[in-house]
Amino acid sequence: MTISHFAAVLLFSLFTSIVFAITQRSEPKSMVRFGALCFALFVGGTVAMSWAMWLIKH
């Protein structure tokens, strides 16, 4: 199986966010909010760090 680097980021972020949401919050509504926040931070953080490394190299 081969997947792109970005697909790997999305899958990792999705599954990790689900587990974090369920284990770190008690109410379903706050679980959804926290899960979405974790997912956005994982993906956004990875994209931001990727651009930062690109800028450092160039």
């Binding site: 199986m1 081969t2 997947i3 680097h5 790997a8 899958l11 990792f12 999705l14 599954f15 990790t16 689900i18 587990v19 974090f20 369920i22 284990t23 008690s26 109410e27």
Partner: protein, 144 residues
């Protein structure tokens, strides 16, 4: 006897939550949750959480294996290899299954295979987090 709307208080200042399961031993919940992802929550009757945890952790482990990630074996070599083994061990029976079937033994040559190794380690660590969460629900430390 308790007044309606009040949470009964036990010795030591700890409160018992109404959702805490008294019929299932917290230690059993912790063990089941470690052995199979989501089993701890399943024992507590939290079906949706159990299903989501099981799907997430099993998929993460399976993707890691499919990407030809490495499954660590017990070792006393590099500290990172030892930590990798500890992380993998968190997956419980999934780790045992992987070792029995000889998965994850090929050398890591591609970048995505290294991602696969990380997927496997993190699935084990997330399984430990899920098992501890189930234990907290069983003891009443976490309300719901």
């Amino acid at each position: 006897m308790t007044i309606e709307g009040q949470v009964p208080v036990v010795a030591g200042g700890k409160t018992l939550d109404s959702n805490a399961s008294s019929s299932v031993s917290p230690a059993l919940v912790l063990l089941a949750g470690w052995l199979f992802p989501g089993a701890g929550h399943l024992l507590l009757g939290k079906w949706v959480r159990a299903a989501l945890l099981m799907v997430s952790i099993v998929c993460m482990f399976a993707i890691g294996v499919a990407l030809q990630g490495k499954i660590y074996t017990p070792n006393t070599g590099e500290p990172l290899d030892m930590l990798g083994f500890v992380g993998d061990l968190g997956a419980g029976l999934l780790y045992a299954l992987g070792r029995l079937l000889g998965w994850g033994q090929a050398p890591v040559l591609a970048a995505v295979a290294d991602y696969g190794t990380k997927f496997i380690v993190v699935s084990g660590l997330l399984n430990v987090v899920a098992a501890v969460d189930a234990h907290s629900l069983a003891t009443g430390r976490k309300h719901s």
